[in-house]
Symmetry: C2
Subunit: 344 residues, 2 copies
DNA sequence: CAAAAAATTTCAAACGTTTGCGAATGCTAT
DNA sequence: ATAGCATTCGCAAACGTTTGAAATTTTTTG
């Protein structure tokens, strides 16, 4: 690694002080026009790049924000990150992205590392294990330092800070209601992991909708998955061997819905003829697979944008105020496609 | 933002010097057992967190590496990032992820920012616009500073540095060869953007395979896409209106293959009965859609791992050596599924 | 008890940059 | 000639931490 050229190096070369060089490069008015031009030209020539690290130390500002997510391996998460980038990149911020893989220890370690790196804000989508463990000391650390913390997608409700989530409850409700209105009476649900807010909310939407239409809530029709396509295979296979088959399946996301579709087809049943299927996420391919998948649209990019805006607004006022505890709930919209069309 | 407690603060409290505090917290042997314990307990109590920024300045090491990718919005890219994380996170490195959205200006800006932030290495997947423009000054900057640069997935061939890519040529070749052996004679190709190495290599594999089997290379059967599922719709629609239909379609990735499948189905044609379809990426859902999609597996995570290993090895030796120019080409493997099975 | 040895602590410099304040220089007006 | 002013530049401190060497204190030894 070649030593980067510093302001001191330039100063030595020109037999002037570092202050002069610094001022010249920053177009400070009290610098002679000639010396300014000379210094700037030389700096350009030798490829001088200001050392942001030293500046960060001096100004106590790093222009860096941390983003902690359970995974980036699917459309929704990466859309969120893109949204954050879209807002914060023009403001000069750099994103420090950490993937917890749903592990509490990693989440905790990352929080420490980010605080140690003096990030100016943290966007966090709480990991599965953290929900399970109920440990939130790492979040207290963030609060203690009063660094802006914004929950994205998955929040910890006992914590007063900003958050941007979507309306999982109504999204799920509308999907199930649609199935009911299409004449479905035995609607199964492939739910997400226990304790996770998004999963629980969707389950609640499912249950409440069934109740509203006086349909029984059958425990045998509610099965666990972990959001991944593979995790749907075994539970749906079990579902398909019940004495009385369901006539619809509502998946906690598109992945498990697609997994369900495969099992159903392999059983020789038709979609939506025998069994209707609906998902959640409206991932790009959902419109293109066969049959195209009815799904609840989840504006990932918008989540990222709104979250970043909360942060940007906070910076703007910068009057030493407390950080916002604004909760934004974005609407989710049902997109009806072939997989649920036509009578049951 | 609360001022973080510093070593000086602690020193003042204990009426000792900062050096003592520093040594105590780092378990330096020449510190009295009692004072060490006291200081550590106090530091713990007040939530002291060492300021990495100042350390970075002092040691000229940031333990940060930059990752510049055109997009993170699909399975392959995010798999690469996960691979890099998997290797570098345990080594204490932080990832600085930048999304160029295929734009040259952003790529260039990001390089500058990363250099300014004194990252210790840069992983780069060259953007589309950069290929088009042929501008590589920003890469020269990296070289000048002799910061390890590793191309992932998309390389700039005129540049002597490490790279990890997959064998796009043979991957495409094997997919087309498979189609030929299944009796297909008019095989269309949905290619990627011009000038992009991965796209060109796959096109080359397609062309060379046709030549090997004495099949004509028909310009009308080679159509442009931009990797996205939507971008396949119009070209394939055009394809379906040719006087003589193709009997197979090979997509530059799974997305466009899935787009093609939709158009073909909408035309009332069967897959693979009338037209076989193959893709590239082996994305997770390819096994679960209907019909399941034949695809060339592309080990994204492995790319990330190998790239990170090149970097880690370089650190290891650290003998001021030149950075590796090792080129790793990972094999790609054809996964045959329903969409190409059975005679044409 | 004095001197030597060991243990513990402090000093000072360094990393690269910015910035308020004072100093030096040149110029103008009296 | 000289006071006054404007222009241009340098000094020194600061950000938080580490570390070799020096200084101090404590312990050991003869």
């Amino acid at each position: 690694m070649n030593k980067p050229v510093t302001i001191k190096d330039i100063a030595k070369k020109f037999k002037c002080s570092p202050s002069t060089v610094s001022r010249a490069l920053n177009n400070h008015p009290s610098i002679n026009e000639d010396t300014r031009r000379n210094l700037q030209e030389y700096a350009q020539k030798v490829g001088y790049q200001r050392n942001q690290v030293s500046l960060s130390l001096l100004n106590k500002k790093t222009a860096t924000i941390g983003v902690i997510v359970p995974t980036i391996n699917n459309y929704h998460e990466s859309a969120i990150i893109e949204g954050i980038e879209a807002v914060l990149q023009p403001l000069g911020f750099t994103l420090n992205i950490c993937v917890t893989n749903e592990q509490y220890v990693l989440e905790s370690e990352y929080v420490n590392k980010l605080l140690s790196n003096r990030v100016e804000g943290i966007f966090l989508s709480v990991s599965q294990e953290t929900y399970d463990s109920g440990h939130y000391e790492h979040l207290e650390q963030i609060k203690k330092r009063s660094i802006p913390l914004i929950f994205i997608d998955r929040e910890y409700e006992g914590f007063a800070t900003g958050s941007v989530i979507i309306d999982d409850y109504h999204g799920a409700f509308s999907a199930v209601e649609h199935l009911v209105k299409m004449g479905r009476k035995r609607i199964a649900h492939l739910k997400g992991p226990n304790g996770m807010a998004v999963a629980e909310e969707r389950l609640r939407g499912y249950v409440e909708c069934l109740k509203k239409y006086d349909l029984p809530v059958d425990e045998h029709l509610i099965l666990n998955t972990n959001f991944k396509v593979e995790s749907a295979i075994e539970p749906v296979t079990k579902l398909m061997s019940l004495p009385e088959l369901p006539d619809a399946v509502f998946g906690v996301n598109d992945q498990v819905a697609i997994g369900a579709m495969k099992v159903i087809r392999d059983k020789g049943l038709s979609i939506p003829g025998d069994i209707a299927v609906a998902g959640f996420d409206n991932s790009p391919i959902s419109a293109y697979i066969y049959p195209s998948l009815t799904s609840v649209a989840r504006p990932g990019r918008q989540i990222g944008i709104e979250a970043a805006k909360i942060f940007a607004d906070y910076l703007q006022q910068s009057s030493g105020k407390e950080f916002s505890t604004k909760h934004i709930v974005l609407p989710s919209e049902l997109i009806v496609r072939e997989s649920t069309m036509g009578g049951g």
